[in-house]
Symmetry: C2
Subunit: 431 residues, 2 copies
């Protein structure tokens, strides 16, 4: 029997306890050994009692777990940076294998953690940190290892996907849909981490590190959230055949890694376009395998527990064969991060412009002066002397677009640059 | 350096050689060792020369490979049952690890192969046998191992998915679209194995064996092909919100395994509904993870090579750690296969019935007498005294439906039972 300690008995931790109990026999048979949680670190004993467990399972301190030589696996589900980081590293030093769902920690301190795992020849599994129950970490590390990965594009945050799906279907403004999502429990009372894209940024940092064998941290990710997306942008995008998604994107170009999270318009026919509501998906393109997509529930108690238990079972197999530390850190390169200003993409731009002759020529002239060529120009609803001008650019460099927009925003024929949204998954050699 | 022998240098074999060469450094770094193909068994030397390789690499006989103690991995890409089976088993007896894409062989003789692998403590990997480049075998065996799998539903044959997608979009009959597919190289000149569902049946037998830990063979699969699907059925289905797909389905119910391949109507909103053209996808539902879908290219030279090379690299890691035979046969149960007659599903039935008063009552009465209740009855196009009658049943047992249809087909008010298509992924406790 393999003994396991659980740090943190919240939603996911309780799910892990339940799953290990409900599928006890299946798990023992498939992993080769029974798995039993023998110690839980949790400040609220009610959470442990709610699972029908005796108080005796609650550890008095982290040391009780660290010093328990029978315990071979520690499951860290406390979240946040400290004390989770110290606990994980101390556990590894004691020869314990670790499973975590802690994206914040890996995205910011991955290097230290992987080094500690390698030094101590222990397994460090974190499938649950990205995409909840969706298997993506192991497939990227193993099944797809023969590929040079070209891009990974994820819908990695269920809250924002729910909000954008709702805004798209019901034409309601962001604030109203956010409130509904909060009432339904799909958004937190402080939604910042989700709606500003930080959660997705942590996840894409983790996937980028694996895809390109080079450590990418949260701080490396360019991030824009969804708070500035309006029903009007969604409507104009739909008229042009696009769907709006908060995408987490990483690509390798000229030996540099692009890594960014922002709202994007994708063609209605793109596999990611149909990923609705709280579902997550990860689109992967490799040089051999071409297009793949992994789709499923990116959060939730039992889907996340599924990933944690899969990770535990993989460790059990390694313990059985005396082979822990089998897949260690894969970041053996040190690639540069590409600046967002150098991005080459197509853009949707919405301007409020004076509704009178010659204005369009003036605006087009400014874009032309900045190397920004336009693929589509639509003059839409007009109001009080101003028209909504919707532009789709050709493939241009972001810094050129920004320069053009800066000049435009200071011209009196332009009321305002209302929104700029990148296009993704459209034809053209890039982006 | 790890030395590898290749049996069969056709399309996929050539792709493997190319991928190992193109991504040589990436593969060496990620797997821990360089991988080199040192011997190829191939009757047509031109195929080997076309890759820029010297004739010297061609093995004179299988024995030259079997007796080469330096060769640690054999890649079997000959296809078919014999001599592939004998070669694989002999290679395993010599302590060689094996990678194969041979679905026919695994679906019919899996037990022997896995036993030989286990006896000789070698790895036996076959990710490429199902879904081409899509990682599905390892995710099912590893990441999802904590789940009781409830169902696996695949679009596992690109040829038939291409044909049905085309028939749905362009309203053209089966024969015409098949011819086009043959001209484009998407269908073989003898398309039987694809269009009759045998190819998909082999693949779902493999997935069922893994999902339910019980050996399922090709012979266990109930199979219907797509040759009887007409544009009229597709049109009526579309009007009811359905999309037609050739589905490969396995579910566990009351300790028995359902395993079947047949055309099915799925709701337009089902994740599998958007899988078009030659793409494949596998939808998985587990008790913890809930809904997942894996999507990608189910065939083709480089996608399939991607899966083969991923399998090779996994073996290299096991060789490094002296740990081959790590994941052996997972079929430790012996479950019964459910008879198709016992299936409980909803059905689309198209009848040609006399277009006169009282006929509908007569037909409904026969269904009622056989415990078949109807959810929807639509009278469609009428012609020469007969009307197309489209019926959707509630959840009924297949044997009851068949009995009712037998009685109906002998009544003079019924011109013919034109088609019967199962519904899948619709609400209701099952199917």
């Amino acid at each position: 029997m393999i003994k396991v300690a659980l740090l943190g008995c919240g939603t996911v931790g309780s799910g892990v306890i339940k799953l290990l109990a409900d599928n006890k026999h299946v798990i023992a048979r498939r992993a080769g050994h029974e798995v039993q949680v023998t110690k839980i670190m949790e400040s609220d004993p009610e959470k442990v009692r709610a699972l029908g467990l005796d108080d005796g399972i609650i550890a008095a301190s982290i040391d009780e777990i660290l010093n328990d030589d029978d315990c071979q696996i520690v499951i860290e589900l406390i979240g946040g940076i400290e004390p989770a980081k110290t606990y994980i590293i101390e556990a590894m030093k004691k020869g314990k294998n670790v499973v975590t769902a802690n994206k914040d920690l890996i995205a910011s301190h991955g290097k230290e953690l992987f080094e500690a795992a390698e030094e101590n020849s222990v397994d460090f599994n974190f499938e649950a940190s990205v995409g909840g129950g969706i298997p993506i970490i192991f497939p990227l590390k193993l099944s797809l290892a023969g590929n040079r990965i070209q891009e990974v594009i994820g819908i990695l945050n269920g809250t924002t996907n729910y909000i954008l799906t709702k805004m798209s279907g019901e034409k309601e403004p962001y604030e109203k849909v956010l409130q509904e999502a909060q009432q339904l429990g799909y958004a937190e009372s402080d939604p910042t981490s989700d709606v500003e894209g930080y959660d997705a940024a942590r996840k894409i940092a983790i996937l980028a590190s694996i895809a390109f064998n080079s450590r990418v941290s949260f701080e490396d990710v360019y991030v824009e959230g969804i708070t500035r997306i309006t029903p009007l942008d969604i409507k104009y995008g739909q008229e042009l055949g696009f769907v709006i998604k908060l995408l987490a994107i990483t690509k390798e170009e000229e030996d540099k890694i692009q890594v960014r999270v922002h709202p994007a318009f994708i063609p209605r026919t793109h596999p990611l376009a149909v990923v609705g509501g709280v579902y997550n998906a990860v689109f992967v393109r490799g040089d051999a395998v071409q297009d793949l997509m992994f789709y499923g529930r990116g959060a939730g108690q039992m889907p996340t527990a599924s990933a944690v238990v899969g990770d535990i079972m993989e460790i059990v197999r390694d313990i059985e064969k005396n082979n822990t530390g089998r897949i260690s850190c894969t970041c053996y390169l040190n690639k540069e991060i590409a600046a967002i200003s150098k991005l080459k993409a197509k853009y949707y731009v919405r301007l409020l412009a004076k509704d009178r002759p010659g204005v369009l020529a003036g605006i087009a002239g400014v874009f032309g002066n900045h190397e920004v060529s336009l693929a589509t120009v639509l003059q839409k609803d007009s109001n009080q002397g101003y028209a909504q001008l919707v532009l789709i650019t050709d493939l241009v460099e972001e810094s050129d677009l920004r320069s053009a927009l800066k000049v435009l925003s200071e011209m009196d024929i332009v009321g305002a640059v209302e929104n700029v949204i990148r296009l993704e998954g459209v034809s053209g050699h890039e982006s």
